[in-house]
């Protein structure tokens, strides 16, 4: 198992390298020039040249790439073209809210989606099943910002149960943190609750046909034991796959949610960086996301072995 873990980590190196090349070229090939954005519309050609020289953008592409990679190897992600602050500092300031939001959304997803999916499969074809399926279609089709504004309007504006927007870190106390993270997390989670409950239902429906489920019932076990101990663990592999890829894809949903709920997270940083063509910052954020993606995939694969004893990695 450790063997396998190390092997997979080593395999991540070439993956990350290709991501780096891809991001670098993609940014250089898209229209837009950071020098123009920094200097403004009124700048003369000479001023632009000076700015480009200062930023190192006048060098040939290969030279820029080699410099960037060399700095990366030393752990230097560079300095933002716009704010002149180190990229890592900028990301460090913003990653907390984003990770909190993503984790809260994932927790809500598991908390609602697993029981809903299991119950729907158990009452297959009955009212409860239909209700879960209808909810799931809604969850897919309503965009995150609509869900967000509806939640704000109902819980914050009309019922006045929760604050409208904003963010408090966990270090300032659990209650203010939860009060502010709950609505954005729920808005973000709605699509994943739909996705994961559907997957759980489908996977459970298949597993409930298995012989060992019949064996469990023949022993006179309670239906809840049959469902959760015997069936759900066997249904887990496709569910884990969806949860893992879903978690990795949360990033895109985070951008919208953060702007709806005015959360100072990575999403806003990315949008600002892209609009300003802040090359070092965009590159660092995408590399970071890719790294998280690789890591999550590895964790999913390892979790298969934990849920199913027949899965063994060499």
């Amino acid at each position: 198992m450790i063997h396998y873990f190390v092997k997979r980590l080593l395999m991540a190196i070439p993956v990350m390298f290709f991501v780096a090349v891809f991001v670098f070229l993609l940014l250089r090939l898209t229209p837009g020039d950071p020098a123009i954005i920094i200097a403004g519309d009124q700048a003369t050609q000479a001023q632009l040249e000076t700015i480009r020289e200062n930023l190192g953008l006048d060098e040939p592409l290969l030279g820029q790439f080699v410099t960037w990679m060399g700095n990366l190897m030393r752990g230097d992600f560079g300095v933002s073209l716009i704010s002149q602050k180190p990229v890592l500092t900028l990301i460090g300031q913003r990653i907390g809210p984003t990770l909190s939001l993503a984790l809260a959304a994932m927790s809500l997803t598991l908390f609602f989606a697993l029981p809903l999916g299991v119950m729907a499969a158990w009452r297959h074809g009955k009212l409860l099943d239909r209700a879960v399926m209808i909810f799931s279609v809604l969850g897919f089709s309503v965009p995150v910002f609509v869900t967000g504004y509806v939640l704000i309007s109902v819980f914050a504006v009309n019922l006045q149960l929760l604050p409208v927007q904003g963010y408090r870190p966990l270090s300032e106390g659990l209650v203010p943190f939860l009060q502010r993270i709950f609505l954005p997390a729920l808005a973000l989670a709605s699509i994943y609750i739909a996705l994961v409950s559907r997957m759980t239902r489908a996977s459970m429906l298949e597993i409930l046909q298995e012989d060992y489920v019949r064996t469990a019932r023949a022993k006179g076990l309670n239906e809840s034991v049959v469902l959760f101990r015997h069936a759900l663990r066997n249904a887990a592999i496709p569910i884990l796959t969806i949860v893992g890829t879903g978690f990795a894809m949360l990033i895109s949903g985070v951008v919208v949610t953060e702007s709806v709920f005015n959360i100072p997270g990575l999403g806003r940083l990315v949008v600002d960086a892209v609009l300003a063509r802040d090359y070092p910052l965009i590159q660092a954020i995408i590399l970071l996301t890719a790294g998280i993606y690789v890591l999550i995939n590895l964790l999913i694969d390892l979790s298969y072995a934990l849920t199913d004893p027949r899965v063994r990695y060499q």
């Binding site: 297959h124 012989d211 469990a216 022993k219 015997h230 663990r233 004893p309």
Partner: protein
């Protein structure tokens, strides 16, 4: 004592039908009793309703699809059909228990055996953790499982099929239920394991005085285990009676035909020594499977090598049938797959009319393949369900460049040879019965005009009456077309009837080979003798309708 007369299970005029707008009756008013201390066999072919009967008794029917519509099922006098779900749940596992057919899938693969076993006690008894553990060890010992603590910590995939079925039996009998229902509990097991499990069920049943409802399709098993027999067909009980009476003097034509279809263990007299030329000669064939990975190889760790086939040699002559007999894991199917070149042999030679095909590739392999055709075990899965059978049949010849019109003409002919109506060519596999589908699989092979047919357990998935017909068909085709056949089977009765020579395999090696009449009548190797000894129903002569050993009056 009057109490002793109450049957443990009493099924009274039970009706069961499918739900939905167009219900079909699956059980049409069946009645039978199982008394304490008695083993009643419910015998029937597929679709007779025997498994549904057992599920009704356990209250395990999928009620959205199938539900009882009338009658009563009394467990110790208490009607299961009218009992509340909570009551039947309390009875399940405690008063009535069940052992299922497939030990490979009946246990939960992700939970430890110990936990699955303890659940029985958790659900029905108040016991402390250590007491439960102790009770589990005792239950394992009762079914003669070696090293109970190790079994307790194992997962199902770490145990053999026989061990898993012992665990299932231990689970079912843990709380000493009044009624044990065993649904084909030995069908998926090898004969030697089957014999041990049957002995075990008999022994535990006698110790505890349990009533056993034993469901099987195999008359040989009936002979070995039943006190009384109940023959079912299409949802009705055809006849009931004590086992020897029923076997010796069946009252209905159906039972008679069922008994007549059982292949005898004694091979027919060899029909003269016709020595044809050798079509297929296999010499020193070996197949190794290497399990390892490049990283382990780099650090010099040797691969794990499994020798599936170890130096196997045999000859197949024109117009003859060679049987390869053995239990699961003996390598018999791997030999067939190597001969077909579906696997590449590790070493050895496969001479087809004197030319070695063990390593040929490309065009030479394509030419060889046409001469060897295979019939697989499960016709439900060997035919593509999405295309009409004409397409399935035509694919092979089309690959060899034959034009459609001539293929279609030949396909119609071949359908008639295998006893099917050529108009069926445009239908899909699901529109045929299992036996018909196997005929289609044979037709598919014949359309390639092979010299050798390799039949891998080709009749094992079929009901005994259909099995007899398909065996006759294969034999007839072999004779008419002077084909040679490599017949792989685990069933000695089938081998005895269709094979001229048999080759007994064990752990990848040949233990004995010779004419069927000699090997099966006077086995030289102790393993062959053990196999024959384990064949179910050996003590009964189905042809004479009496126990073996009584001389037939001439």
């Amino acid at each position: 004592m009057k109490a002793a007369l109450t049957p443990a299970l009493s099924v009274r005029n039970l009706h069961v039908a499918t739900t939905g707008t167009n219900p079909t009756e699956i059980l049409k008013g069946i009645s039978f009793d199982v008394n304490p201390g008695e083993i009643v066999c419910l015998v029937g072919e597929s679709g007779s309703g025997k498994s549904v009967t057992s599920l009704v008794a356990m209250d395990l029917l999928p009620k959205q699809e199938i539900r009882p519509t009338g009658g009563a099922v009394l467990l110790n006098g208490e009607d299961i059909l009218t009992a509340t779900p909570a009551r039947t749940k309390a009875l399940r596992g405690a008063e009535m228990a069940m052992v299922f057919q497939e030990p490979m899938t009946a246990l939960n693969p992700v939970l430890r055996i110990g936990l699955q076993m303890e659940e029985v006690f958790l659900a029905h008894r108040k016991m402390t953790g250590p007491d439960r553990r102790q009770a589990v060890f005792e239950a394992f010992e009762a079914v003669q499982l070696p090293n109970p603590p190790r079994i307790y910590d194992s997962f199902p995939h770490q145990l053999s099929g026989g061990q898993r079925q012992r665990v299932m039996i231990a689970m079912a009998l843990a709380l000493k239920p009044r009624l044990l229902i065993a649904d084909e509990p030995t069908t998926a097991l090898d004969v030697t394991t089957q014999k041990q499990i049957l002995t075990l069920i008999r022994q535990l049943q006698e110790e505890n005085g349990t009533a056993v409802l034993f469901i099987t399709h195999d008359m040989g098993v009936v002979v070995d285990i039943a006190d009384r027999v109940c023959v079912m067909r299409n949802g009705e009980v055809m006849e009931t009676g004590p086992v020897h009476e029923l076997l010796a003097a069946p009252k209905t034509d159906y039972t008679r035909s069922l008994l007549a279809a059982i292949p005898s263990l004694t091979p027919p007299e060899p029909a003269g020594e016709e020595r044809g030329d050798i079509v297929l000669e296999v010499s020193a064939l070996s197949k190794e499977f290497r399990l390892g990975n490049p990283l382990a190889r780099l650090i010099g760790k040797p691969d794990h090598v499994v020798k599936a086939v170890d130096e196997v040699s045999f000859c197949l002559r024109r117009g003859r049938t060679l049987g390869i007999v053995g239990e699961s894991g003996s390598g018999k199917s791997t030999v067939a797959r190597c001969v077909m070149r579906l696997e590449d042999p590790s070493s050895g030679a496969i001479l087809l009319d004197g030319h070695d095909i063990s390593t040929v590739q490309g065009g030479a392999l394509m030419r060889a393949r046409k001469r060897l055709q295979m019939v697989f075990q499960d016709p439900n899965r060997s035919l593509n369900p999405r295309i009409p059978i004409l397409e399935s049949l035509s694919e092979g010849p089309m690959n060899y460049g034959e034009d459609r019109t001539s293929i279609h003409a030949r396909a119609a002919e071949v359908m008639e040879i295998v006893g099917l109506d050529p108009t069926g060519l445009l239908r899909y596999p699901h529109q045929f019965s299992g036996g018909q589908r196997q005929r289609i699989a044979i037709a598919r092979a014949l359309l390639m005009e092979p010299e050798i047919i390799v039949a891998d357990e080709a009749v094992s998935a079929l009901d005994v009456s259909v099995q007899a017909q398909v065996l006759d068909l294969l034999d007839q085709i072999r004779r008419e077309r002077n084909l040679s056949m490599l017949f792989i089977t685990h069933d000695l009765r089938v081998a005895a009837q269709i094979c001229d020579e048999v080759m007994v395999m064990r752990n990848g090696r040949v233990v004995e080979m010779g004419p069927a009449s000699e090997v099966l009548a006077n086995p030289k190797h102790p393993y062959t003798a053990a196999l024959i000894d384990a064949a179910p129903g050996r003590s009964w002569d189905f042809v004479a309708g009496q126990p073996v050993g009584i001389p037939v009056p001439s």
